[in-house]
């Protein structure tokens, strides 16, 4: 079951790569939040302790409801253009993503031969991390960078969950990465209030260089 959900998670990533509308990005964030919470609920079904319910519920609320709503609100309030402005051809981006994902899946399969990992969640997690990084690199909008960071963070949480059934405290600490996301979003909002950035776009971030 965990494997099926991980594959679904990977499919959302591929959809993310081909789409170019901010609205779809937000929807996919919601779907990923739900999928992650579902995956994280498995340890609870096995052990039935209330403690294990906290993280799935918190991440469901934060990832599937609060953050997507916040992003949507910013897009409407700041009147951001509704397309993502890629700096790479969509087809090339898809090719690059599929290539890196297949490399990850194959290497996860090879590694699972002599170590104790579950290849599918492991590879899905790293696919999410790498696609998060790609989105940060190949998209121009700041708000999309934040979404890229969120995808990266989802990958990390999935990786943490796939590690062990007992979920050591360190995995729970990973949820703190959300603080950064909130700070970024706040940053964009405050930006607009002090109106220092005319356009929330990386092309505006060109003053500091050598």
């Amino acid at each position: 079951m965990e494997n099926v959900l991980s594959i679904l998670f990977c499919l959302t990533l591929l959809y993310l790569v081909v789409t170019s509308r901010i609205k779809t990005y937000v929807t996919i964030l919601r779907i990923q939040g739900v999928l992650l919470s579902l995956i994280m609920i498995f340890p609870f079904i096995e052990h039935l302790s209330v403690h294990l319910l906290i993280i799935p519920i918190v991440s469901l609320i934060v990832k599937a409801i609060i953050i997507p709503r916040f992003v949507n609100k910013i897009v409407i309030d700041l009147d951001v253009k509704r397309i993502v402005e890629p700096s790479i051809q969509p087809f090339n981006f898809l090719l690059l993503s599929v290539f890196s994902m297949s490399v990850l899946f194959v290497s996860a399969h090879v590694l699972s031969g002599f170590t104790t990992i579950e290849p599918i969640p492991f590879a899905s997690a790293f696919s999410a991390m790498i696609i998060g990084i790609f989105i940060i690199i190949f998209r121009k909008k700041l708000i999309i960078h934040v979404v890229g960071f969120l995808i990266l963070e989802n990958g990390i949480l999935l990786f943490g969950t796939s590690l062990s059934a007992e979920m050591p405290t360190i995995v729970e600490l990973g949820a703190l990465l959300d603080i950064f996301v909130v700070v970024f979003l706040m940053g964009i909002v405050i930006n607009r209030i002090s109106s220092t950035f005319a356009q929330p776009d990386v092309t505006a971030l060109g003053r500091l260089k050598d």
């Binding site: 170590t115 960078h145 990786f159 590690l163 600490l173 940053g187 950035f197």
Partner: protein, 483 residues
């Protein structure tokens, strides 16, 4: 645990007090009090008068003691000059930043202390995340476009880095699967004791992710740009804090993971990675030293260079490791001097561009001479401490002559590039004598701090105190290096 209480309670209390007490003089006195108590406490712990108890979360080994001393020292001097810095006539926008300044300083001290004394990698991770979050508004101090861009870049790059470091720690958990440590907390001492049973593949993966991730904070190339922007656009006390102590705080995370790897056969791998990272940093500093037109950025690139050198020293091992640890101390002191005086120059000439700064030695004799002396210290002239620590690193590098040749080549040209900029600032005749800004300079507290720090640097270099040397050799012993 009275020591832990002494180290953390006062900054914690201050965060609340400073928030409610709006008078800046009171805020300053409270912060300075906390800094002094912290400094005394670190000194007592360093010299062995206080022997704090340790547990799964807190640890006071030699490495912690040394880095705690570095943090306290830098923080104390930066706090001391902060009030005069805030009192300078400035644009109105900053009033907002000034209100938060001392609160954030206290939070910075608290988070850094926790990161340094943590024995639990989870605690370390949370604490270093906090340091990033509290330093970001300090970078945004001037509230202009450049400051905003610097803050955004720093925050974003470091967050991605911190996320990578987190993946590294997860790999560490993975490496313990199926061993006695399975499902246990990430306690460094336990991991060191059972290092042999850890899975080497995941251990290597953990090191790569932690090293690359924390490089964003340490300033190791190619992850350095966020750091450069942040230190060059923040107010000079904050830049001094970041260069002097924040980089060290991140370095200790890498050192902890390396310490776990030392007893295993993966240690060689970690050393190679560190040497590559260090050499690349030196190379980047070498290239950009000739390109920079901004003197604060130049000092930031010098930080990249020196942290690179430290990482090379750690990777080389032997006497170079000892040199690297001493270099951490000396570099932090020198960077404070350089940034504080660069701040004075920035205030007088109202520009960070080298081209619009002339004749500093005549216009601002105190700042000029102190900046010049600081420059001599950072390029490792004797009798300053950095000369001796670099000598130790080179001595360790003797075993790898090609590497030594490369390092010396790059350092020589970095020295040339840096001196070109510095001497232009200090000696260049003004293009138009009539339009020179009227600058009269009195001896103020930043000069006092710089003077004491430079004297400290000479003293530490010439008469290396036995306590310091013993501490450093103890650290080396913890890392399996017997001299």
């Amino acid at each position: 645990m009275p020591e832990l209480f002494l180290l953390t309670a006062l900054p914690l209390l201050n965060i609340g007090l400073v928030y409610f007490l709006k008078n800046r003089k009171i805020q300053y006195s409270l912060t300075l009090l906390a800094a002094t108590v912290h400094l005394l406490c670190s000194l007592l712990i360093f010299s062995g008068f206080l022997n704090p108890s340790e547990n799964d979360f807190i640890r006071f080994d030699s490495l912690t003691k040394l880095f705690l001393m570095v943090l306290s020292n830098v923080y104390f001097w930066v706090t001391l000059v902060s009030y005069s810095y805030l009192s300078r006539p400035n644009i109105v926008k900053e009033e907002k930043s000034k209100k938060l300044y001392f609160m954030l300083l206290n939070l910075y001290l608290l988070a850094n202390t926790l990161a340094l004394i943590s024995n639990h990698l989870g605690l370390f991770w949370v604490a270093s995340e906090t340091t990033t979050l509290c330093v970001a508004p300090l970078i945004f101090y001037y509230r202009d476009e450049e400051a905003l861009e610097a803050m955004w870049k720093y925050l974003f790059l470091v967050s991605v880095g911190i996320a990578f470091a987190f993946v590294g720690f997860l790999f560490l958990t993975l490496s313990a699967n199926g061993t006695v440590l399975d499902g246990k907390q990430l306690v460094v001492t336990n991991f060191i004791l059972n290092a042999e049973v850890l899975n080497p593949i995941w251990l290597k993966a953990a090191f790569i992710f932690v090293f690359v991730g924390l490089s964003t904070k340490i300033g190791i190339a190619p992850m350095h740009p966020g750091d450069i922007d942040a230190t060059s656009n923040s107010p000079s006390p904050v830049a001094a804090l970041m260069s002097g102590s924040l980089r060290g705080t991140a370095l200790i995370g890498v050192l902890r993971v390396y310490q776990i790897m030392v007893p295993t056969e993966t240690a060689e791998f970690a050393r190679i990675i560190m040497i590559i990272g260090g050499m690349f940093s030196l190379f980047v500093a070498f290239v950009f030293m000739f390109k920079v037109t901004n003197y604060k950025r130049m000092i930031s690139y010098s930080s990249v260079e020196h942290l690179g050198l430290i990482v090379i020293g750690i990777g080389t091992g032997g006497i170079a490791f000892v040199g690297a640890m001493l270099h951490v101390v000396y570099n932090s002191i020198t960077k404070v001097v350089l940034f504080l005086n660069a701040g004075n120059i920035h205030r007088a000439y109202k520009s960070r561009e080298t081209a619009s700064v002339w004749n500093v030695l005549n216009a601002m004799p105190w700042t000029g001479w102190l900046f010049l002396t600081g420059f001599f210290a950072i390029i490792a002239m004797p009798p300053f401490g950095i000369f001796f620590s670099e000598l130790m690193i080179f001595q360790g590098l003797m075993a790898k002559p090609w590497l030594l040749a490369g390092v010396l080549f790059l350092l020589f040209f970095i020295f040339v590039g840096m001196s070109k900029t510095v001497f232009q600032m200090l000696y260049k005749a003004p293009p138009d004598i009539a339009n020179l800004p009227e600058i009269s300079e009195k001896f103020d507290i930043t000069h006092f701090a710089s003077l004491i720090l430079l004297l400290m640097l000479i003293g530490l270099g010439l008469f290396l105190p036995s306590e310091l040397y013993e501490m450093v050799t103890n650290i080396a012993l913890d890392f399996g290096i017997i001299l």
